[in-house]
Amino acid sequence: MKYLAPTTIEGAVRLLSEASGSTRILAGGTDTIVQLNAEQIEPDLIVDIKRIGEIRGITNENGGFRIGAAVSCAEMTEHDGVRDLWPGCVEAAGLIGSTQVQGRATIAGNLCNGSPAADSVPAMVAAGAVVRIIGTDGSRDVAVEKIPVGPGKTSIGADEFVHSIFLPPRPERSGDAYLRFIPRTEMDIAVVGVGINLTMDASGVCTAARVALGAVAETVLLVEEAGDTLIGTHIDDAALDNLARAVSAACKPINDKRGTVEFRTRVAGVLAKRVAKIAAERARG
């Protein structure tokens, strides 16, 4: 196994395009190193992207924020601008692992690990985040929900890697939130995760809503029908009940060591109501 740490985008692209065996991108390493130790992966080449200066920062871009692929969750949660604009995304990043893990883990890595239970992904999907991918053919921008294609699988090519994730600017009276269910208080993996991002008009009527679910299907789900239950309402109890029903209906979970189909389906609805209330509260200001 070879370990290389390029310092430029071009260098990283060249390494990936020239690689013959299996490769693995390393950013924070909080998944990759664990998988290596557990002998779950045996890559021929590890490309560490942490030394590429261009992807180590958070930059303001047209009122949104571009978050470099090597930015740690801790750096993100300590960034006032991001926290003010996308509190739900930040609280999701702040749930990954532990304080120590967040010092190294990145949201790009959380996305690329391809886990349906990744905490930051439903929040980013709800936010409409856009992923910039770099490869031999240059760069392309893709909606975040298009990245995971199955457990542990993504649509990113072998010669590509994530450059950054863009959290877009948003209208006034918008709010987002993320909650997950875990049996413990921290250091755990979501049994169900729900991210909701919504916008209201001046009279308090919801005009846009995106609802994303984690750990209830093979990939994180963007559930448009669930968002529709909120649009045109004041997010009152009746709307929340409809939301819960739509969310539960969209769940396609499995029975496993972390929870049953029945439990996940039920709790996804319960969490969605709680998340929508927080998001609405934030939108109302």
Binding site: E39, P183, D188, I189, K257, F263, L271
Partner: protein
């Protein structure tokens, strides 16, 4: 000399009862302390184990040719490398290395030693094993079925007379009790009969098993390992490898938790056998997955409990039947469960029976009060339900039926001075029990029992020329016991705590010591140290008498000094320990004390736990909001470490109650062999656990010490279950009470209401 043979000391302590820093503390917080894996030897090889991927399979052949051919591989080990062993060690041998059959997923099949870890890992994959897969069983009830696959064709249930005619998976049958149950139940006004199940848990020590073994050409060998009992490691390894006990020296490393799980050998005999084959030191360290799949855990169980009461609140008859799953080899834990079942109660008609059941799971190991928390969950749940039926306060109901001095216990012996009633009364009057519940919270309590043990003990105590003292003990310190040893020696000798240093000596330096388990260390080591110190004091008084030329009887030991006493003693300035020690070369040589004993008289102890919980009825999630432990310590030598034991036991019990548990698929494979999905509580899951020490002296110890390490894990399962029942109206009969299980029960209950 008047005071020297006194055995009782109940007050006037100077060092005992204080809270000095632990002697191993600085090294542990700075990282200097050396644990099992923190050792290296010149020329050291790395050993790795090939483990069975099947829960039950016949091993048709093992071909090690390809592994041995790999450059860097120095030895490969299979069961063929071990000869016959005495019957008492056969299960251990067949557990550390599968013999003809793999009995559980993770069972060791072969091992390699190679120059580095990468080559060792690669070599493991080059060992070709041909298996014939057999049907398996991991569930305790399924394993007792007529048509269940048999683990051992030659297992006939022991404890039954006459011997059964057919083999089965029931290893042992146990029965305890007295009186006439039928008569008792016929007088009962209320009889409740309930069934319960619990899942297996792991001890969950943070430090995985690790060792370094060196076998020399001259036949001498050494093991360094993380263990609760290095004498046990020595004697077991010597038996498995057929070497003389004197040839093997075992040194215990610092230990990162054991909780009973490090009272058996796993890697040590393999490392030593690999070293013997390779002619080089061999180090082995388990991964967390190996720890879960191949070591520990405790039993899973199914149980039936039946209790009858009169309207006046008196329990008139109590019966229990337990089936404890013991993994691939039988043990004694179901028996302990049956013994503990009703130990808290004064009963005329009582019976507890137990089956120890073999399954295709790892061989169970002791876990803190082994067997007791499981049955306590069942019994204390029914007791709680009866208190509700009788409209009695749960503590008052228990007080009405509590075991007391002179009662014949449900497991046989008559109780000596015990503190159950005082423990219950203290809990009842405790601010926690008296406090008004916060909104949305509910309260539960339970009481628990553990025997505590003594056993084989050998210690030595050396007085150095400067008057400081070194104590050598033979039991690893897993809970701060070195501090307690220093305190007891300092107390007896009348010198400051800081002038005593206690070390854990290796197996060649002391007589045999039983393992650090059974809550025995502070009791049994302490008793021996006190007597060793008294021996040294007697010697020092004699030397002072000789110096002063007065009779030995005319010298007493006060505050670290010999001084004349009595009418014919004469007038001499006191001679203190430093002076006597300095002059010792001229008065007869070095001064030391030692004591060897099979310590008896370990006093039983009881605990009452109180929990306030909040249940999220939409998700089934339980939060522990407040938790209090009230427990009898006999005498708390170091109160902070006693409190730590109470808190630690409670924390582990809460984990067992709520989220911990082995998850098996239909394939017989453990699905959660890691701390992510084997959910032990993390710090933020628990409130600060309040610990209230009660001291009802144990007459078997000079200072009254009772063991404190285990009792505290006994009541939490029932305590939390009873609190959840108060909160939701749902009586949980299944452990763990994980959110999916609890939510389902709540929703079922809501539909019925």
């Amino acid at each position: 000399m008047a005071d020297i043979d006194r055995l009782e000391k109940v007050d006037g302590f100077k060092v005992v009862g204080t809270r000095p820093n632990r002697p191993d503390g600085v090294d542990k917080v700075t990282g200097r302390a050396r644990f099992g894996a923190d050792i290296h030897a010149p020329g050291m090889l790395i050993g790795k184990v090939l483990r069975s991927p099947h829960p039950h399979a016949k091993i048709l052949s093992i071909d090690t040719t390809r592994a041995l051919a790999l450059s860097g591989v120095k030895a490969v080990l299979t069961s063929d490398d071990f000869g016959d062993v005495p019957a008492m060690h056969q299960a251990t041998l067949h557990n550390v290395m599968a013999h003809n059959k793999a009995l559980y997923e993770g069972h060791a099949i072969a091992a390699v030693a190679a120059v580095d870890v990468a080559i060792a890992r690669k070599a493991i994959k080059l060992i070709d094993v041909e298996y014939e897969i057999l049907p398996h069983v991991t569930d305790v009830d399924a394993a007792m079925a007529e048509d269940a696959p048999l683990l051992h064709e030659d297992n006939f249930t022991s404890g039954i007379d006459p011997k059964p005619s057919k083999p089965s998976n029931i290893a042992t049958w146990s029965e305890f009790g007295h009186g006439n149950l039928d008569e008792g139940f016929s007088q009962a006004d209320i009889i409740l009969e309930r069934e319960f199940t619990t899942e297996a848990t792991h001890q969950g020590y943070i430090e995985p098993h690790a060792c370094l073994a060196t076998y020399s050409e001259d036949g001498n060998s050494e093991i360094w390992c993380t263990t609760q009992g290095h004498f046990l490691v020595r004697d077991t390894c010597a038996a498995l490898l057929d070497i003389a006990v004197s040839r093997l020296r075992v040194t215990a490393s610092e230990i990162g938790g054991g909780f009973g799980g490090k009272t058996v050998v796993y890697l040590e005999p393999l490392a030593l056998a690999l070293s013997r084959k390779a002619g080089r030191p061999v180090k082995m360290v388990m991964s967390r997955s190996e720890v879960f799949r191949s070591t520990g855990p405790t039993s899973s169980s199914s149980m039936r409990v039946k209790i009858g009461v009169r309207k006046d609140g008196r329990i008139i008859a109590a019966d229990a039947h337990l089936n404890y799953q013991s993994g691939a080899f039988g043990g004694f834990i179901a028996m302990l469960g049956a013994m503990c079942a009703y130990a808290c109660y004064s009963l005329e008609n009582v019976r507890a029976t137990a089956n120890e059941v073999l399954t295709n799971r790892p061989m169970q190991a002791s876990y803190r009060a082994p067997g007791a928390p499981i049955v306590n969950f069942a019994v204390e749940s029914v007791i709680d339900e009866l208190a509700v039926e009788l409209e009695l306060d749960p503590i008052e109901f228990r007080l009405m039926n509590a075991a007391k001095e002179g009662d014949r216990s449900s497991y046989g012996p008559v109780f000596d001075q015990i503190g159950l009633i005082q423990t219950l009364e203290t809990a009842r009057d405790h601010p926690h029990y008296q406090a008004t519940l916060a909104k949305g919270q509910a309260r539960g309590m339970a009481v628990g029992f553990w025997f505590n043990f003594g056993g084989l003990t050998s210690v030595s105590l050396n007085v150095n020329f400067d008057g400081t003292v070194t104590v050598s003990v033979g039991r690893p310190d897993i809970g701060g016991s070195r501090a307690a040893m220093c305190q007891m020696a300092a107390e007896e000798l009348g010198i400051p705590y800081d002038n005593v240093r206690t070390i854990i000596a290796d197996t060649s330096s002391l007589g045999f010591n039983d393992t650090t388990d059974g809550s025995r260390t502070t009791f049994a080591n302490g008793l021996a140290i006190i007597r060793a110190a008294r021996g040294a004091i007697r010697d020092m008084c004699a030397r002072a008498a000789k110096t002063w030329d007065i009779p030995e009887e005319a010298v007493e030991w006060v505050d670290g000094c010999a001084r004349p006493c009595g009418s014919n003693a004469g007038d001499f300035e006191p001679m203190c320990i430093a002076e006597i020690a300095r002059k010792s070369p001229k008065t007869g040589g070095p001064i030391a004390g030692h004591h060897e004993v099979n310590a008896e008289g370990a006093g039983v102890s009881f605990a009452v736990h109180i929990a306030d919980v909040k249940v999220d009825e939409e998700t089934g999630r339980t939060d522990i909001c407040r938790y209090t432990v009230v427990q009898d310590a006999g005498k708390a030598i170091h109160p902070a470490y006693v409190e730590g034991q109470y808190q630690g036991g409670a924390a582990q019990g809460i984990g067992w109650a709520l989220n911990e548990g082995y998850v098996y698929g239909d394939d017989g494979i453990m699905q959660n062999p890691g701390f992510l999905d084997y959910r032990m509580p993390v710090c933020s899951d628990l409130p600060m656990i309040e610990a209230k020490i009660i001291e009802i002296p144990n007459k078997g110890h000079p200072y009254g010490v009772r063991g404190v390490g285990e009792t505290s894990i006994v009541p939490p399962l029932a305590t939390v279950a009873n609190a959840i029942c108060s909160a939701t109206g749902v009586r949980m009969t299944q452990i763990p009470m994980a959110p999916p299980v609890l939510l389902k029960a709540i929703e079922k209950n809501n539909k019925q209401v």
